[in-house]
C-alpha cells in the first residue's frame, strides 16, 4: 500500500510509469532476494520495510541493508499496547503490575513469532520484568480480533492498526512504544515518559540492487522526496496512523545498519529469554 501510493505520487516526476509487483513471502525475504538479484539499472527497486534489517537474524534469507542500494526512508510507525475496554487495567502501570505478579496469567496476542510487533512484546518483557503467555496469530488483524473477542487479554500492533478500534471504543490503548507521542493518539502516554525507554518502530523505505549508479539513486530519491512533500502523502500517513518521516540515502543507510545491529544483538538474547 505504501509503495503503491508513493509510486502514484512519484511517477509524475520520473516521466516513467511505475509498475508495482507484489511478492509476498517469508516476511519479505523473497522480495528482498528477488530485487537484489536484478540488474542495478534503477528500473527495479523494492519497498524496504523494517524486516530488511531483521530477516538475516531470523535466518530467512542471507540479506541485509548493506547488500542493497538504499534510496530513502518515507515513513515510520510506532507500536502500541492495547487491551479490551472492559479489562481492569486502566493504565500501563496497572497492566505491568498485573503481568509481574502472575505467572503468565495474561495472554498476549502477537502478530506472528519473529514479526516486529512480537519483537516489541519481548522488549516489553525484558524492559519491565513482566511475563506473558504468548498467543501467536498470522498478522495483526486476527491478533486484535482475539482481544476484541476477549479470547486474549492484550496485543501489541502498529498505532495505525489499532487506532480505528481505539476510536470506536472496542480497544483501549495503554502505551505507545516511542519517545514522542503519536499524532493520532496524543492522549496515550509513551513508554519513554512512563520510565521504560523501549520500542522498535516499523519503517518503510525504498532500495534497489547493490551497485546502482549514484545518479540513478539520486534521481529516484528526488522523485520520492517530491512525492513525500505532497499533501496527499501527509494525508495518507495521517489516515493510516503512520508518521511521515524522510531520511535521504546516507541517513537511511546509517539508520538501517544501526537497526540491523540492534536486531542482531537483541534477537538471540530475546529468543533465549522466551525459551518456550
Amino acid at each position: 500500500m505504501v509503495s503503491r501510493v508513493m509510486a502514484s505520487l512519484a511517477e509524475g516526476h520520473l516521466n516513467v510509469p511505475i509498475v508495482c509487483e507484489y511478492k509476498p513471502g517469508a516476511s519479505g525475504a523473497l522480495a528482498f532476494s528477488f530485487v537484489a538479484r536484478r540488474a542495478s539499472d534503477g528500473y527495479t527497486i523494492g519497498h524496504a520495510p523494517v524486516e530488511i534489517a531483521i530477516v538475516r537474524s531470523l535466518g530467512y534469507a542471507d540479506i541485509g541493508p548493506s547488500d542493497v542500494s538504499l534510496i530513502c526512508l518515507v515513513s515510520k510507525t510506532a507500536p502500541a499496547l492495547v487491551v479490551h475496554p472492559d479489562s481492569p487495567w486502566q493504565s500501563f502501570d496497572d497492566f505491568i503490575a498485573a503481568a509481574k505478579t502472575g505467572t503468565g496469567n495474561i495472554v498476549m496476542a502477537n502478530s506472528g513469532i519473529g514479526s516486529i510487533w512480537h519483537f516489541n512484546i519481548l522488549l516489553l518483557e525484558q524492559g519491565t520484568g513482566a511475563r506473558f503467555t504468548h498467543l501467536p496469530y498470522g498478522g495483526s488483524a486476527p491478533a486484535l480480533v482475539s482481544v476484541i473477542g476477549r479470547h486474549s487479554d492484550a496485543a501489541v500492533a502498529a498505532v495505525g492498526e489499532v487506532i480505528s478500534h481505539v476510536r470506536a471504543g472496542s480497544l483501549r490503548a495503554l502505551a505507545v512504544f516511542d519517545a514522542a507521542r503519536a499524532g493520532v493518539m496524543a492522549e496515550v502516554p509513551t513508554t519513554h515518559e512512563l520510565g521504560y525507554p523501549i520500542g522498535a518502530p516499523a519503517w518503510s523505505g525504498f532500495y534497489g540492487p547493490a551497485g546502482m549508479p549514484a545518479e540513478r539513486v539520486a534521481m529516484l530519491a528526488d522523485a520520492f522526496k517530491t512525492a513525500f512533500e505532497t499533501a496527499e502523502w501527509t494525508e495518507f500517513c495521517r489516515e493510516l496512523g503512520m508518521e511521515a518521516h524522510y531520511l535521504g540515502k546516507e541517513d537511511f543507510a546509517a539508520f538501517a545498519l544501526e537497526q540491523q545491529r540492534f536486531f542482531e544483538s537483541r534477537i538471540p538474547q530475546l529468543v533465549r529469554l522466551e525459551n518456550p
Binding site: 513471502g25 523473497l30 498467543l135 486484535l144 480480533v145
Partner: protein, 501 residues
C-alpha cells in the same frame, strides 16, 4: 427511513452506477479465470479509487467483490475447474449437469442462486448486523478448530461414498498444509532449505492443477470427451417453476449458513458452501442425487458461497474486523477515504451503511442479469473442439498459477498437482478434500495449538465450550453417517428377506 433514502440517493448517480458496472464486469472476468482472485482484483484497483469520490470508488470495489464469486462457478460448471476456491462445491453438481447436457440450466441456477444468496446475506446485514457480529466474535481458537475440523471431515465423508478415500485425500491436504513456517514458533518445516517454501504451498495453483490439468490429462488418456456427446446440448437456462420451488429451501438455508460462516473472520465461502451442500443433502428427500447433478445441491452451494460476502461485510462494517482478505483491503480503502468501519459507523453514519447495502443489491442484480444473458454464449465453450479447450485450460492454468504470487514455484506446484489430479481421478480418489485440507489445514492447526496454549495444554478444558461440542458432534456424525446408513440398509434388506425365507 430518512437514512435509507439518503443512502439510496447517494448511490443513484450515473457515475456511481457506472463504476459499479465496471467493477462487476471486471469481477466477472477475474472470477471466471482460475488464479485471478477477488482479493487480487480489489487490491489492484484500490489505488485507482483515490482519484474518484468515495461512493464511486467503493462502488467499483464492491462490484468486483460481488461479481467474482458468482462467475467463479462458471468454469466449475462448464469444465470442472473452479474459478475460485468457493466454487469447489458448485463443481460437483454443476459439472454433472453439464455432462448430462444441461449446462445452460446449471449456469442459470448458478446465476439465480448466487444472487439469492447475496441478497439474503445483504438483508441479514441490513437488519441483523449486530447479533451476527456478536456471534462471530464468540469464535475463539477452540471454535475455529471445531469449524475447520467439521469442514474437512464433511468433505471427506461426502465425496462420492468412498469415505476412506475421502479421508485419505483430506489427510494428504492437511499434510501438505504443514509445509512452511510453523504457525506458532515460526520454525521452518519441510522446506528443504528453500525460502520459496517458507510460506507454504499455495492452494490456488494446487486447485488449478488438480481440477484443471488433471481433468485434461484424464480426457486425453481416455481419448473421450464430454463435449463430443453433450456438446450441442446446452438446454434451457431458466429452471422450471416447479424446479425452482423445490430448490427454494436449499437456496435459502444455504444462504443462512453462508452468511453465518462468512461473518466469522477467516472462514469464508469455501467452507460455507461445503457445509451448506451437506446440510441440503441430509435434509433433502432426494439426497442420493447430490453430487450427480442435483439442482438443489448446486443451488445450495452457489447460494452459500455468495452469502459469505454479506456475512464478511457484516463483520467488517459492525466491528471493523476483516471477514476475509477482500474485506481487509476494503477497510484500508475506506480508511483512506476517511470512513471508519465499526459500531460508530452504524450510529453516526447510517446513510453510508445503507449506501453500501444498495450498492451491493445493485451489484448482485447486475451479475444475475449478466449470468443469465451470458449463459448461452458461455456454454459455447463446450462446442470448442476438445484439443483446443485442453490447450486453453493449460495456458490459462499456467498463467493463473504464476499471476497469483508472481512465483515460478507456483507454476511447478500446479503441474505436480496436475499429475496428482490425473492419478487421483484414475483411482477414484476425490480431489475436493485435498484442496479443502490445504486451505483449512493452517487454520485448523494454528487454532488447535492456540486453544491448547489458552487451556495450558489441557485437552479436556476445551470440551467445556458449547460451540466446539456442537462441531465435534457434527464431525463425528458426518464420518460415521455412511456406516450407519450402510448398516441400516443392510438391516432393511435382511428384514425384507424374512418373508421370503
Amino acid at each position: 427511513m430518512a437514512e435509507i433514502l439518503a443512502g439510496l440517493s447517494a448511490v443513484l448517480a450515473w457515475q456511481v452506477l457506472g463504476f459499479l458496472a465496471i467493477g462487476v464486469c471486471l469481477g466477472a472476468v477475474f472470477g471466471a479465470l482460475p488464479g485471478l482472485t477477488a482479493t487480487m482484483g480489489v487490491a489492484l484497483l484500490t489505488p485507482l479509487t483515490f482519484w474518484v469520490s468515495p461512493e464511486q470508488g467503493l462502488a467499483m470495489l464492491l462490484g468486483i467483490y460481488c461479481g467474482t464469486i458468482p462467475s467463479g462457478g462458471i468454469p466449475a460448471i462448464l469444465i470442472n475447474v473452479p474459478g475460485t476456491p468457493a466454487s469447489i462445491a458448485a463443481s460437483w453438481d454443476g459439472y454433472a449437469l453439464t455432462r448430462k447436457g444441461q449446462a445452460g440450466l446449471a449456469l442459470g441456477i448458478n446465476a439465480l442462486a448466487s444472487t439469492t444468496g447475496q441478497l439474503t446475506s445483504i438483508a441479514f446485514l441490513a437488519f441483523l448486523a449486530f447479533p451476527i457480529a456478536s456471534f462471530a466474535l464468540r469464535f475463539g481458537p477452540a471454535e475455529y478448530f471445531g469449524l475447520t475440523l467439521l469442514g474437512v471431515s464433511l468433505m471427506a465423508g461426502v465425496s462420492g461414498g468412498h469415505v476412506l478415500k475421502g479421508v485419505l485425500s483430506g489427510t494428504l491436504g492437511l499434510a501438505l498444509a504443514l509445509v512452511g513456517l510453523d504457525p506458532m514458533t515460526a520454525y521452518p518445516r519441510y522446506t528443504f532449505g528453500m525460502s520459496e517454501f517458507l510460506d507454504g504451498i499455495s492452494f490456488v495453483p494446487v486447485m488449478i492443477g488438480l481440477f484443471g490439468l488433471g481433468e485434461v490429462l484424464v480426457q486425453i488418456s481416455d481419448r473421450q470427451s464430454v463435449r463430443a456427446s453433450a456438446a450441442a446440448a446446452i438446454g434451457r437456462v431458466l429452471p422450471r417453476i416447479a424446479d425452482a420451488k423445490r430448490m427454494a429451501r436449499a437456496t435459502f438455508s444455504g444462504a443462512a449458513v453462508g452468511t453465518m460462516v462468512g461473518a466469522i473472520p477467516a472462514a469464508g465461502g469455501d467452507i460455507g458452501a461445503v457445509i451448506a451442500w451437506e446440510q441440503a443433502r441430509r435434509t433433502s428427500s432426494d439426497g442420493d442425487s447430490f453430487g450427480k447433478g442435483s439442482l438443489s445441491g448446486l443451488a445450495a452451494s452457489c447460494s452459500a458461497c455468495n452469502a459469505a460476502i454479506g456475512g464478511g461485510m457484516t463483520t467488517m462494517l459492525t466491528l471493523g474486523i476483516p471477514g476475509d482478505a477482500v474485506s481487509a483491503i476494503l477497510i484500508g480503502a475506506l480508511l483512506i477515504h476517511g470512513i471508519q468501519p465499526g459500531p460508530l459507523l452504524f450510529a453516526n453514519n447510517q446513510a453510508f451503511v445503507f449506501s453500501i447495502v444498495f450498492l451491493m443489491i445493485f451489484a448482485s442484480l447486475l451479475i444475475m442479469v449478466i449470468g443469465i444473458l451470458g449463459a448461452k454464449p458461455l456454454a459455447k465453450v463446450l462446442s470448442i473442439p476438445a484439443p483446443w479447450l485442453w490447450a486453453g485450460i493449460i495456458v490459462f492454468g499456467t498463467v493463473g498459477a504464476y499471476a497469483l504470487n508472481n512465483a515460478v514455484t507456483d507454476v511447478w506446484a500446479m503441474y505436480v498437482a496436475g499429475v496428482a489430479g490425473f492419478l487421483f481421478r484414475k483411482t477414484q480418489i476425490p480431489l475436493g478434500p485435498l484442496v479443502l485440507g490445504l486451505i483449512l489445514g493452517p487454520l485448523m492447526e494454528s487454532n488447535l495449538r492456540r486453544a491448547l496454549i489458552l487451556s495450558r495444554g489441557d485437552w479436556s478444558a476445551m470440551l467445556t465450550r458449547p460451540i466446539l461440542l456442537v462441531f465435534l458432534a457434527a464431525t463425528l456424525l458426518s464420518l460415521l453417517w455412511p456406516l450407519i446408513r450402510a448398516r441400516r440398509g443392510a438391516a432393511k434388506r435382511s428384514q425384507g428377506r424374512i418373508p421370503d425365507a
